[in-house]
Symmetry: C2
Subunit: 463 residues, 2 copies
C-alpha cells in the first residue's frame, strides 16, 4: 500500500528526486527500485543466458532446496578429530576457503601457531612459526574435512569434535567444543589458560560428552533448533535458548556416564557459563544439512559461505567443490568498551554456514534482541531484514519457523541469480575479532557477503 492515502507522484529509484518533490510541497510515494544487476550490461547478459533455460534451473533449484531443508541432523558423539575426521598428524584445519600461510590474517596465524604449540609439535611460538613457514605443517580448510570452525576455525588431531549425522542423507559434519568468551584460540589467543582449557576438553570434557551422548542416544538437533528459533535465537549471534535446551538434553546422559561426579560438575558449570555453547553445533548441523545440496547440475543455490579473514568464499550447488572468492568485508556493529572500527579484523569463520541454511541474519525476524544488539534497530528492523532476505532466496524453511511471522518459514536457499539481479547481498550476523593477534573478540555486528563471489559464480554458471 502506498503511504499517504492518495499520492500525486510515484517516484521510482533514486530517493533524491522524491526529497526534492516533497520540498516543493508535492505528495510523493517513494518506491525503492534499482535496475537489474545494477545496470551492468555484462551481468544482465549472463542472467539472460541463464534465463534461456529457466525451467531447468528452477527444477534443479527445487531439488537442491529440498536436499538443503529436508535433512535431519542428530548429535551422536564427541570424539578426537584424529579419529572422527581421520585427521593426519601435523595437520591444522582453518576456517574459510583455502589460504596460504603467507596470506593469513594476524589472528589466524596466531591461532595456527598456538595450535602447533598445543599439539606439542613445537616448544614455543618461534619454533612453531618456523615449522609452519617451512611447510612442515599441513594447512587445510575445515570444509574439506567434513568440519566447520568458528572464527579462525582451528582444528587439530587431538581436539575433540562433536559428530553430527544427517539421518536423511547420511552425511556427517563436525565441530569443536565452543571455548566460551574471553581469551580463546578461535580469536587467536593461546596463553597458558587457553592451552589448559583445550587440554581439559581433550582429556575430560570431550570424553565425558562422548560417553554421555552414546549413553543418551543422541540429540535431534533439527527439533532443538526449530524450538530455539521459537525462543529468540537466530543461532549465530544468539544461542542462549539452544545452549540451554542442549544442556538440559545432555545432562541425563552425562550424569549416567560420568563416574567421577566432580568431572560432571565441571562440565555442567562450563556449559552453564557459555550462552554461545551451541554455536559450533548449529554450524555442524548446518554443514550436515547443506552438504547434500551440493552437486545438483544446473542449480544456482549457494551451499557454502565461509571466510578466512582475508577472503570470503562461496560454493554453489552446480559448481560442486569449487570456491568462488572475493576480498572479505569488515563487519559493522557495536564494540566492546575500549575498542572501535579501527581494531576490527575483516570477517572470519565458517559460521556463515548458519545463514546458508536459513538462520542467522536470514532469520533476524526471530531475534529482535539481536537486531538491537548489533545496532540494526528493533522489531521493525528485524522484520525488514528477513523480508529483504526473501528477495534472494528460493523458498521458506519447512522446519525452521518464526513465531513473530505467525510460523512462516525462514528464508532459505540463497540464489546466485537473485543476488546479482537485485544487488541484495546475504546479511550475516557475526562476532568481530580484533585485528591484532591475541586481542580476542572486540565486538559484534553484521556483515554483507561481497558481490564479487556471486558475480564470479554467475560467470561460471552461465558458461
Amino acid at each position: 500500500m502506498l503511504p499517504g492515502g492518495s499520492p500525486r507522484v510515484v517516484n521510482l529509484g533514486l530517493e533524491i528526486f522524491a526529497g526534492e518533490l516533497t520540498r516543493r510541497g508535492i505528495r510523493v510515494a517513494h518506491v525503492d527500485w534499482r535496475p537489474p544487476a545494477g545496470g551492468d550490461a555484462r551481468l544482465v547478459a549472463l542472467l539472460a543466458r541463464l534465463d534461456a533455460h529457466r525451467d531447468a534451473v528452477e527444477r534443479a533449484n527445487a531439488e537442491a532446496l529440498a536436499r538443503l531443508t529436508d535433512g535431519l541432523p542428530v548429535l551422536v558423539d564427541c570424539r578426537p578429530a584424529r579419529e572422527a575426521l581421520e585427521l593426519a598428524d601435523r595437520t591444522v584445519l582453518h576456517s574459510g576457503p583455502p589460504i596460504d600461510w603467507g596470506r593469513m590474517c594476524a589472528p589466524m596465524r596466531a591461532a595456527v601457531v598456538g595450535a602447533v604449540r598445543y599439539e606439542g609439535w613445537a616448544a614455543n611460538d618461534d619454533a612453531a612459526t618456523a615449522l609452519v613457514a617451512a611447510g612442515a605443517v599441513r594447512l587445510s580448510p575445515c570444509h574439506h574435512h567434513r568440519a566447520v570452525g568458528p572464527m579462525t576455525g582451528i582444528i587439530t588431531p587431538s581436539m575433540p569434535v562433536f559428530v553430527v549425522e544427517n539421518r536423511v542423507f547420511g552425511t556427517r559434519a563436525h565441530a569443536t567444543i565452543n571455548e566460551g568468551l574471553g581469551k580463546v584460540l578461535r580469536f587467536g589467543a593461546s596463553d597458558s589458560t587457553v592451552i589448559a582449557r583445550l587440554r581439559w576438553m581433550a582429556t575430560e570434557a570431550g570424553p565425558l560428552l562422548g560417553a554421555g551422548l552414546r549413553a543418551g542416544g543422541g540429540v535431534d538437533l533439527r527439533a532443538l533448533m526449530a524450538q530455539a528459533l521459537r525462543m529468540g535465537d537466530e543461532m549465530h549471534q544468539r544461542n542462549v535458548a539452544a545452549s540451554s535446551l542442549l544442556a538440559r538434553a545432555l545432562m541425563p546422559g552425562v550424569a549416567k556416564a560420568g563416574g567421577r561426579h566432580q568431572a560432571v560438575a565441571r562440565l555442567a558449570e562450563f556449559i552453564a557459563g557459555n550462552d554461545q555453547f551451541f554455536l559450533n553445533l548449529a554450524m555442524a548441523a548446518g554443514k550436515a544439512m547443506a552438504d547434500p545440496a551440493g552437486g545438483v547440475p544446473g542449480s544456482t543455490l549457494v551451499t557454502t559461505m565461509a571466510r578466512n579473514g582475508t577472503e570470503f568464499g562461496i560454493r554453489v550447488s552446480a559448481l560442486g567443490e569449487r570456491w568462488l572468492t572475493a576480498p572479505v568485508n569488515t563487519p559493522d556493529g557495536l564494540y566492546f568498551p575500549g575498542f572501535g572500527p579501527a581494531d576490527a579484523n575483516p570477517d572470519m569463520g565458517d559460521s556463515a554456514i548458519v545463514e546458508t541454511v536459513g538462520l542467522g541474519g536470514l532469520a533476524m525476524a526471530a531475534s529482535p534482541a539481536v537486531a538491537r544488539f548489533v545496532g540494526a534497530g528493533g522489531m521493525a528492523a528485524a522484520l525488514a531484514i528477513t523480508e529483504e532476505m526473501r528477495e534472494i532466496t528460493a523458498g521458506e524453511h519447512p522446519h525452521f519457523r518464526i513465531p513473530t511471522l505467525d510460523e512462516r518459514g525462514s528464508p532459505v536457499g540463497i540464489d546466485v541469480r537473485r543476488v546479482v539481479d537485485t544487488g541484495i547481498l546475504p546479511l550475516i550476523n557475526t562476532g568481530i575479532a580484533g585485528r591484532t593477534a591475541g586481542v580476542g573478540q572486540v565486538g559484534a555486528g553484521v556483515v554483507r557477503a561481497p558481490l564479487g563471489c556471486f558475480t564470479a559464480a554467475l560467470e561460471a554458471l552461465a558458461v
Copy 2:
C-alpha cells in the same frame, strides 16, 4: 489513526449502527467505546467517590507498584513443607481462596484424598474421605502459608517445597516441585504411579535439589525470568525457556552435591522431560514479589488472584488479607483429543499470581506461540491482548521487558478502578482440568477473572 483515510462518520459504541451505515454506502470509522462501568450508576458513584481523593490513591498505587516490581526473588533451597512452612501434621493446603470440604470441586476433593493417603493418615480413599469429612484434617489455602500451588495446589508436610526469597523485601514464598504431565496429584489423580513419584520427590529429588541449591549459592529468578520472557515464555502456559535456563543453572550444584550419580541422572532426566518444570517457581517468585505490595493504605492494586475451582478470589493492597470472591469462570481454549468443553472443570489454581506480577496473559505479546496454542490467534492477537491489559494496569514492569515491543515493559499492577471502569477483565492463561476426578488435564486456554471480585473490591475500597 482512523481506517479508510477520510471517514465521513465516526461511530462510537455499538457496532450495529456502523454496520447499518456501511450498508447504506456511508464511510464509517468504528470506535469501540463503552460507557464507564458498563453504565451501572451505583458503580459510577463508587468510582466517583474514590476519584474525590484521586491524588492520594495515585500516590498509594505508585508505592504499591514499586513494591510489586522492585523485588528480587532468589531460589535458595528445597526443603520439606513441614520445616519450610512450619506445616502442622494432618494439614493439607489447597489453591485459591478458603473453601470448605463440602464446596470443593471433584478434582480438588480427589487430590485432598490422595494427599491424605500419600501421607499415610489413612489406608485407602474411603478412610481418607471419612477422615476429612469428620474435620480431622485441617484444610487451608496455600496463600495463608507463604505458599502457592498450581491447579488443586495440594501441599502436605512431607512434600519438598522450593524456597524463594525476595532479597529486597525479605519475604519468602514456596511451591512444590512440578510433577510433569499426565497423571498428577495437582489434577486430582492419585494412583500408585502418582504416589511413587511424590515419594521419589520427597526422598531423592527434593533433598538433592536442596543440596544442589545450597552448594550452588542460589539462582536469581528475576534475571532468569526476564531472560525467559525474551525467549517466548509468558511463564504461565509456556515455561520451556525458563525450565531450560533453570536446568542449566541447577545442574552444576546438583552434580557437585550429588554423590550417587544415578540419582543425579534420574533428576536430570525428570527435569529435561518437563517443559513446565519452572511454572511452580514462577508462581513462588510471583508470590515473593507480590506479597510486599499488600497493605498499602488507599492502594487499589490487586496483590493476589487465585482460584479453587469453585470461586475466584482476589486480594487488594489496601484491603490486606481480605479475599473478594465471585464464582469462577470456565476457560475457553483447545482440548486434547477426546475431550471438549463439557469435560472442563471451572478454573483452578494459584497460578494466576503470574498474571498478578505482569506475566502470563498480561505478557501475551512475548509469546505469539501461546496465543496460537490457546486459540487466541497469532502475533497480532498476542500484541492486542497485552495492549488491552495496559488499559487496566498502573504501569510497565522495569525488569520484565518484551522484545517484540522493542523492550517495552510488561503491563503490571492491575487496578480495581480501571477494571470496573473499563469492564476489561484480567486475562489469564491456564491449563484446563477435567471436571471428573482423576481425568487430569483436558486442554489449555484462557479465562477472564470474574467482574464480581472487582466490584466487591470497589465497594470495600470506596467505603
